[in-house]
């Protein structure tokens, strides 16, 4: 059964909520601004609404249904305790402008989470307000620019390795920097010598991902940081892959100045079909003073303060000798409280030992997949040693008309979500597989069986793969048509 659109089944008269019958004898204060057109918003009764969305939901794949091996996206189990906690009225039903005396618990959560993030990364401070990973990247780069400007040093270039997430160059460009690539060496790591050669007084810093997008730990990270610092630059680290090393390596020890943490990856706040995310940014001592408003701080009397424009200067003066020089504000309120409660719940559940164990299991799972598949799939860096929490393969040896896309779509018919495809760009037909630590060995073995079978079909040139998936709610969708003649809203005429 196909599920129609709400515009095809709802009417503007139908209403699935009851509202008091409003007395209309009061004069309106809307003046001449009263809405005269109908909104055209369709309504459904409550039973129809439940059914519509329940049916729709069943056309989705999700972590709750199976393995979701999207490299660099860290799709791990989302504990239901986190959801329960986030819905406690003291967290869910609190207004951002309530007086601080009435939100000590909420500010306490922010502070407690902030301290965990600082300790886990070995950094000095953290900006909590960024709303997602890319927003966090931006925050980090803006801190770098603010710090450089504060010392009157207007550098113009940011170096980004070619394997970087696409968000990295976009972010640097937004912050007004020219972006230059750094090449990779044959093992898929940053070429240290090439980097050193490029450093100079025009380079504001580097944006680097560690573990990198080939799934490898950047052995030279500390040397890279030292070289950048020696040249007067600063180091941004993309934290998308922190899941591999949490509790085992501290980015602060590697010389990182700023790193965003995706709470919705590493700390298991659910992806929700594309957000909301949350991207706090941990900062080195050099960058901490420039973090955006608002921030929270607990003073000696145990009270947690929320520092905003209202009290920023006075607070900085009183408690930081005026050192806090926030570069501004990135969002209207204090950040993703709903994600903070979930992430803190997750962190407290694991504890320092459990987070370390989680990283270990994530890496173990990825290496297991790498070794169980390297004989049937091209694994470009397999000989370079262990991978971190993701295993990278390429399409070498596939039949002529078959591609990574076909294998990925074939996975759907085997009951799995495809892996990340064609990323990183350094490997042809890349397949980046990240199982995460919340997959069982049984699930991995099923996945291996499916992948081996698909790899053999791809190499044998089995063309039925080119039309996969065959057992999904939809066959392959015509993305070209969607882009050529965009239909982005429903209209009666068009349908």
């Amino acid at each position: 059964l196909e599920e129609p659109l709400i515009f095809e089944i709802g009417t503007t008269e139908t209403c699935g909520v009851d509202l008091p019958e409003t007395q209309t004898d009061l004069p309106s204060r809307l003046g001449s601004f009263v809405r005269t057109d109908g909104t055209g918003l369709p309504g459904l009764s409550e039973p129809e609404t439940v059914r519509h969305y329940t049916r729709l939901s069943r056309q989705n794949y999700a972590i709750d249904l199976g393995l979701f091996p999207l490299g660099s996206c860290t799709m791990k189990h989302n504990p239901r305790l986190n959801e329960k906690v986030a819905r406690m009225p003291g967290f869910a039903d609190v207004h951002p402008f309530q007086p601080v005396s009435t939100v000590q618990g909420a500010l306490g959560v922010m502070n407690e989470l902030a301290h965990w993030l600082i300790d886990l990364t070995g950094m000095h401070g953290v900006a909590m307000s960024p709303k997602a990973g890319a927003h966090g990247e931006l925050c980090g780069i803006l801190c770098i620019r603010a710090a450089l400007e504060a010392r009157g040093d207007a550098r113009k270039v940011v170096l980004v390795p070619e394997s970087a997430h696409g968000t990295n160059p976009a972010t640097a460009a937004f912050a007004g920097y020219a972006v230059e690539d750094i090449p990779a060496d044959k093992d898929g790591r940053v070429d240290l010598e090439a980097l050193k050669a490029r450093l100079g007084p025009d380079v504001a810093g580097v944006m680097i991902t560690n573990p990198n997008t080939c799934g490898l730990f950047e052995r030279d990270m500390k040397a890279i940081s030292d070289a950048v610092h020696d040249a007067g630059g600063l180091v941004y680290c993309d934290g998308a892959n922190f899941n591999a090393i949490m509790g085992r390596v501290r980015p602060g020890d590697l010389g990182v100045d700023a790193m965003h943490i995706n709470l919705h990856k590493t700390f298991s706040t659910p992806h929700g079909g594309g957000g909301p995310g949350s991207g706090p940014v941990v900062l080195s001592e050099a960058l901490s003073p420039f973090a955006p408003l608002p921030y929270t701080a607990r003073t000696k009397d145990g009270v947690v303060h929320l520092v905003e424009e209202e009290n920023a200067d006075a607070f900085s003066e009183k408690h930081f000798d005026g050192a806090m020089q926030s570069f501004g504000r990135m969002t209207a309120f204090h950040g993703q409280m709903g994600m903070f409660t979930r992430a803190l719940t997750y962190i407290l559940s694991h504890g320092a030992d459990g987070l370390r164990q989680a990283a270990g299991d994530a890496v173990l799972n990825a290496n297991y997949l790498l070794r169980r598949l390297e004989d049937v799939l091209h694994a470009p860096f397999a000989d370079a040693g262990p991978c971190m929490h993701e295993a990278l393969f390429g399409d070498e040896g596939f039949g002529e008309r078959l591609s990574t896309l076909d294998l990925a779509k074939g996975l759907i018919d085997e009951g799995f979500h495809p892996m990340t495809m064609y990323f990183p760009l350094v490997v042809h037909g890349a397949m980046l597989v990240e199982p995460t630590e919340t997959e069982s060995k049984a699930a991995l073995d099923q996945f291996v069986t499916a992948m081996r079978s698909l790899a053999e079909r791809a190499k044998a040139g089995d063309e039925t793969l080119t039309t996969a998936p065959h057992h999904a709610p939809r066959a392959r969708l015509d993305e070209a048509q969607a882009a050529r003649k965009p239909r982005l809203v429903w209209s009666e005429e068009a349908s």
């Binding site: 007086p99 500390k222 909301p276």
Partner: protein, 453 residues
């Protein structure tokens, strides 16, 4: 650990398959001195679900929940009743634990919802096209400014003085890096917005004019007039709405000449949540500009069997494809909040939204009439929807804290919102929704009377 499925037996078998002696060996690329050989010290170890829940509950009880107090706060975040159905649906594992729908064959649930959401937002705003959501209203506001500058190839941005000061601050912060020139102003304490003053600031270099509707003082600007003036100078009109329920009663900005309408969607479906996650709405009236829009877009197409289906589209605008040439740095949207909004809006429909807006306005009128009777209290607004400004002979920052000590969340102090503007420190922004009772209004009235006497 309850979230980790591997048993010790599994780990041994897997290490054997890999050919590694232990898990630490898998981290051999980490230089020796940098690899931690045990859990980080000074941090607690794992805890039972029961213990964690107890700890978090204790923290939550140190907050005063909005439902437990007479509550009059707004200023960009609104307390509305969210039907239980909404939360039930967003907790469906298939919605909650799905990724961004990059594999459309197995993500039609999210994609069809987003297509419906885009259409709902476009209709609410009176626009042609809306995107699949952004972080929140303030970041959407900045994205609109950036888009207008891209489209007009101009750099000057005229902000209404009655734009939410945090929105203005976000725009100012971002503009520092893009080198847009921001022309702001102080809000004037007049009964109706100073539209003429705003118009006077528009010139031939102006990329965009940013107006909030209703504005931060609850007043309703004359969008049609401002649109005409902006367009006459070749500037784009950006209208910001922070309370979507208002558009069940007020004319849609898209119908009044706005070019870009952005706003905060939190009021429908999302809940207060101490400020986040919220839901940025973004819509435009001229569909030809769609390739200049920021954020994800969902579009209709067909599959290989000819069946209708939906995909994320026009992603060549986006940074993960275009890298440094992208229209915006935004990547994640606010998908689950968009779902909550869409479900709540579907439950309401046109009739329900209109009735909800009417009830908000009715109670706000009652409150304004009641409070205007208090000695020393003056209602600033001629017009308002569900929030209005009281002028009081006292610094309302302290007043708000004193009311909180009595268990009353009495409003938002203009002194807090505009700390630089001493003239505003007597202003109190009072918001009334369908959740406000007449008893709550009486409680506030008595407390104000007492505080002022």
């Amino acid at each position: 650990m309850r979230y980790l499925p591997l048993t010790e037996t599994d780990r041994s078998a897997m290490l054997d398959a890999i050919g590694a002696p232990d898990v630490d060996a898998l981290f051999s690329d980490v230089p020796p001195g940098l690899y931690l050989d045990g859990p980080i010290e000074g941090l607690p170890h794992h805890a039972t679900e029961m213990a964690v829940e107890k700890h978090m509950r204790r923290l939550s009880k140190r907050n005063l929940a909005a439902a437990d107090a007479p509550f009059f706060l707004g200023a960009g975040a609104y307390k509305h009743h969210v039907p239980a159905t909404v939360d039930h649906i967003i907790q469906r594992g298939e919605f909650l634990t799905a990724y961004t729908p990059y594999q459309p064959e197995i993500a039609q649930g999210t994609l069809q919802m987003l297509f419906e959401f885009q259409t709902q937002v476009a209709r609410l705003y009176g626009c042609a096209v809306a995107n699949a959501s952004m972080y929140d209203g303030s970041t959407a506001c900045w994205e609109a400014v950036a888009m207008a500058s891209r489209v007009t190839r101009r750099k000057r941005v005229v902000l209404s003085g009655a734009l939410h000061p945090h929105y203005a601050e976000v725009v100012r912060t971002m503009a520092k890096f893009t080198e847009d020139e921001i022309a702001g102003a102080s809000p004037s304490l007049t009964a109706t917005p100073d539209d003429d003053g705003l118009i006077a600031r528009i010139d031939e270099n102006t990329a965009s004019v940013v107006v909030q509707y209703p504005d931060i003082l609850g007043r309703i600007p004359d969008l049609r007039k401002i649109a005409e003036a902006a367009h006459a100078k070749g500037a784009k009109l950006i209208v910001v709405n922070t309370e979507p329920v208002a558009l069940g009663a007020l004319e849609a900005p898209g119908n009044l000449g706005a070019d870009i309408v952005v706003g905060e969607g939190q009021g429908i479906g999302v809940g207060l949540q101490f400020g986040g996650p919220y839901l940025g709405l973004f819509a435009i009236t001229d569909p030809k500009l769609v390739r200049q829009m920021p954020g994800r877009l969902c579009g209709e197409t067909v599959d290989a069997d000819g069946k209708r289906g939906f995909v994320l589209t026009l992603s060549t605008r986006e940074q993960h494809i275009r890298r440094e040439k992208a229209t915006s740095n935004i990547c994640t949207n606010s998908g689950l909040c968009a779902l909550a909004f869409s479900v709540h809006m579907t439950l309401l429909g046109e009739a329900g939204l209109r009735a909800l807006a009417a009830e908000n306005h009715r109670l706000a009128c009652i409150a304004s009439d009641r409070l205007a009777k208090l000695p020393g209290v003056e209602v600033l607004n001629t017009h308002f929807f569900n929030e209005f400004t009281l002028m009081l002979p006292t610094d309302t920052r302290q007043l708000v804290r004193d009311l909180a000590d009595k268990g009353i969340l009495g409003g938002v102090s203009l002194g807090k919102l505009f700390p630089q503007e001493d003239a505003l420190s007597g202003g109190l922004l009072v918001t009334v929704t369908e959740t406000t009772t007449e008893e709550d209004i009486e409680t506030l009235a008595s407390a104000l009377e007492e505080a002022l006497s």
